[in-house]
Every structure is written in structure tokens, then in C-alpha cells.
Amino acid sequence: MLEVENLHKRYGDVVALDGCSFQVKQGQLLGFLGPNGSGKTTTMRTVFSLVRPDEGAVRWNGNPIGATTRLRFGYMPEQRGLYPRMKVVSQLVYFGRLHGMSKTEATTAAGQWLERLGLDDRAGSRLEQLSHGNQQRIQLAAALIHDPELLILDEPFSGLDPIGVEDMIAVLVERTERGAAVVFSSHQLDLVEDLCEDVVIIAAGKVVLSGPIRELRARSSHRYLEIEVATRRSDLAGAFPGYEVVTSNNGRVRLRVDDNTPLEPLIRTAAELGRVRQFSYAPPNLSEVFREVVAQ
């Protein structure tokens, strides 16, 4: 289990981390969310000792993380980087060996990864000769070559096409099922909602919300109503006076209400407008939870 405990970090006047704490267990896939500049990358770098916190600690299975432990971790930084002129297979073998694998082990693992990614015919190519998408796949393989117990990925989905996103999801799920602790940051919240059960949301260097997505949504004091009515009047924004309209178009309206708001008057108003095609009442989605909590 990775324990991040009460991390503080200042750069001059800028507070990067202000008491950040959370945990990830083996076999858990955790979405690590937060607006730009909230301290996600600094937290991740702390795990790899690239940043030394002013206060607080990071522990793995209860122990401080030393150089040897760190070799069993895998890291994919936000700013991707490999050696452009190095051959793909040599590159993977090098990263395997940097993580403590023997040359033979690393060579075998590199072969398996290239086969799995369907790139075994490109093993001898220089990285720069590969397409952007394939370079991203090699980057992922470089982070996973040594079969890490903890995998930390900073914005793994950014810059991927839909097929790349699917491949990435498949790999993350597979790693988690095989018992690795996986943490990744992302701004694509719909994707996070589909993929993970748990998230941590950080703002201004502090964790503002964490837990299973389902609970976080239910815990919100707001509910969202989605109403669709067959009417000639396409803009329904003014049809529900006294209610907060989130979006409105083509006979559809999305309203935000408190969780104790009675629904009957709304149902009646909707029915008076025309034939009701849809009337749904649900807690906020992850995106809305995120916005509510970060805006505070």
C-alpha cells in the first residue's frame, strides 16, 4: 500500500503542497484529479524522490521508500521522454535494466511487450521513426517493463487517439487485476468515472475530496434533473422559473436542485409544456462533483 501523508512543499512564495494525504492499495486503480497547478505532479515526483517535501512522508507497505524499493515502481511522467535516436528494443532493455532487471530478463520482457503492442517488427527501428501513437505505446511499455508493484502515470491519456485510449485502459485494468497499485491523473473526467471506483481530488495542494465515486456523488447536497419534452418551444430555459438551469437546448433542460427539493411541481410543469419524453433525477456526475468541490 502506498501512503502519502501530510505532504507540504513550498517553492519560494508558492505553496505547491499544503498537507496532501491519501492511500492506494494493491489491486486498486485510483484517479488522482485536480485543476492545473493543484500539486498533482509535485505529489507524484515526491514518490520518486525527485522532490523532497518540506514536511510529511511517503511510505510503501509501512516503510519509507528507499532506492531499492523505488526500482519496483513504474513512472510515466506528464512530459513524455525517451531517447529519440535509440532503437526501440534497446530502449526498453535499458529501462528494464535501470529498474534492476538482468540483461536476459529485460530482453525477454522487451520482446513480450513489443509482441503484445503489435510492434515486434519495429524492434530495430529508432524511436523517432515511429508514429506519435506508437511512441506513446513504447513509453508505456518502458514504464511497465519491470512489472512494477506501484504504477504512477501523469496524464496517461493526453494526446492519445480513441484507439490509444482503449489500449491504455486495457493495460491499466490488467495491471490492477494482477495486483498492482495504480495511480493516474487525468482531466478527462468521464473516462475516469467509467474506469475507476475511487478518486482523490486535490486543489491548492490539499485533498478536498476522496473516496468511491458512487459515494462522493451521493454525498453531494445537489441533484440534477434532466427533462425532455416534445414541444415546439425549443428553449426551455425560462419554462422553470425559480430553478437553476445548467444547460438548455432542443427541448431538453438540465436543472440543478437541492437534494430535498420536492419533484411533483416540476413534473406538473413539464407535463403542461407537452408530452414528457424523459424525466431523470440523479446525483451529480464526477465532472459536476469536481466543479462543485474545486470552486469552493
Binding site: 524522490s49 525527485l50 523505488r70 521522454g81 525517451l82 529519440p84 534497446s90
Partner: protein, 394 residues
Amino acid sequence: MNTWRSILLVAGRDFRERVSSRAFQMSTAITLLFVVGWIVVPAIFFDDEPEAWRIGVVGQEPAGLTTAVETAAGHQATVETVAYDSRADAETAIEDGEVEVAIDSSGTILVDNGISDQMQAAVITGLATIEIADRADELGIEVTEIAELFTGGYEVQSVAPPGAADSESNRVFAFFVTVILFMSIVTYGSWILIGVIEEKTNRVVEVVLGTLRPHHLLAGKVIGIGVLGIAQILLIGVVAMILLPLQDAFDVPSAAGSVLAWAFVWYLLGFAFYAVAYAAAGSLVSRQEEAQNAAFPLTMMLMAAYFVATFSITGENPVLMIASLLPMFAPMTMPLRIAGADAKAWELALSLLLMVISIYGLVRFAGRVYAGGLLQGAGRVKWKEAFRASETEK
């Protein structure tokens, strides 16, 4: 992961990637071609065959003239004589270029403006030798005694210890090593500089530093590129040594074994010192265009050391003495003093000690600067900021 495994892993990668790069292979091939051309071409076009001199003689040819002139010319020329009946014939022959010079037995040497000083001197000396031998003979002095007459019967004996007699050629050799050191630091230092900046621009350094300590990465880079550089120099040196005998006129600097060994030690120390400094400089900038700015102070130091060495090739002086104790100058100046047998044991010991301490200190310092500088974003980082920003070094 243990220290040496990390360092060797990094060194191995840098070495292999560079050896297999087209740029390295091309530059090695071009340098080799240049060296081969420099040695072989003059050997083909400027052969050292002795010149053929033709000397006109009017009247009786002095006995032994040919041998005497050839000896006086240091056997750099073969002499052939042509007899003329009259002085006028000889003058015409010189004008026509049939002979370069003519001897009139009445006591005149005929020349024109085209004659070389060397030839004129050889002819006069040759004639004088014959004259001296003749007169000595008349006086009843044996030919073997003539040499004694010229030295007054004294013999020159050196009281200098054996080896010191070579200090001139030793110093030339040491300077030769200084020049090679200067050139290799400039060349391979810039490779290290570029290599470090490349890793930074590629952002690959963030993953690499997650697995090993910054000073391991630094040491590995310096060793990998350093070994490659030394291998390249050895290759070029060996080729040059094989081909040089083709060129008789070139003196391969020879040196006593100890001078050679010390030169090698200082070469390695100097290389290590500057290579580490270049790596640290590289970690302070993030774009290749800024590389030369970052390396500017180092280049200046290097130039200063080189100039002190150049002006001190003739021998000991106070500037050389002080420079040979300072780590940034010692690798290029101390070998000269060792070669001239000018360095005292305590000076050598002090200089070595300072050198080793400063290399160690520089590795640690550069390790911190490296760690701080590598993870900074764009732009140029100041030494002090990078040093303070260092996170991983404890």
C-alpha cells in the same frame, strides 16, 4: 541498485549509442583520412632523395673535392663535377644552368644569384677542408690529429644525471600531450554538454532519475563519453604511429618512461575535471542554443591554461609554477614541469592532492547542480539556484 552497476549501465548506453551513431563514425573516418593524408601525401610528393649538385671545375680539380663537399653538405646532396677548359666556358655553363657553381683553380668560386646559401657554404667548407688537410700534411700532422686541433685536445663530458639530458625532448613531448588534452577536452567536453542537454530536452531524465542518483547519471555519462574519446584518440594515435616512419623528416617526440606515465595520469585527471564541469554546465540550460553560453567560463579557463603552457614551453617560470598547483590549470602545466625536471616532489604531491579533492568535490557539487538543474523547466538556471533547488541529493 548498487552504485557501480548504475554508473556502468549509463556509461554503457552512452558509449554504445555514440559508437553506433553515423555522426561519430563519420567524424572518426574524416579525422583518420586527414591524419593519413597529412602523413602520406608529403611522403609521396616531397621525397627526401639527396639533391644532385653539379659543380664546374676550371683547371686542375682539387683531389677529393666530391667527397669533401658531400661531407660538408651533411650528405644531403650528391656531387658531380664537370670540367671546363676556360673560365668563360664555366660562366656560360652557369648562365645556361648546366652547373650551379664553378671552381676556378686560380682561386675564384663562380656563382650566380640562384645559388642556395647551403650549397655555397658546402662548397667553401669542402674546399677549406681539402686545403687544411694539404697544409697539415705539409707540416707533418696526421689527418687524425686534425680533429684534435679543432677542440684543443679537450673532450666535452656531461655531469647531468642520465635522463635529464633529454629534458628538451621531454618538454616537447609533454607539450604535445597538452595539445592533445586541450583538443580532446574541447571536443568531448562539448559532446558531454550536448548529451546532457539532449537528455533534458527529451525529458527522459525524469524517468531515469526515478531509478538512480543524479551523480550516478553524471559519472556514467562522463565515463561513457570519456572512454569513447580516449578510444578514438588511441585509434588515431596508433594509425599515426604506424604511418609516421614513412615521413623521415618528422621526429616522433620521444620521452622517458616516467614522463610518459605522468603525462597519461594528468591527461586522465584533466579530462575528468573538465568533463564533470561540462556536465554540470549542461544541466543548467535547456536548449542547445544556450550550450555555448553555459560552457563559456570553462572555455575561458581552458584557454588560459593552454596559453600558460604555450608560453612556458621553453622552461620554468613563476606563472607556470603557480598554475601547476591549481586544479583547473595543473593538467596542462604540471606535465611540462615534470618533463623539465623542474617540479619538486612536494609540489607534485600538493598538486595531485588538490586535483583529486577538487574532482571529488566537483562531482558532488555538479551532482547537486545537475539534480537541481535537470528538473527545472525552460530557460537558463543559475548555478546557485540549481544548487539550492536540488532535491534528491542528501
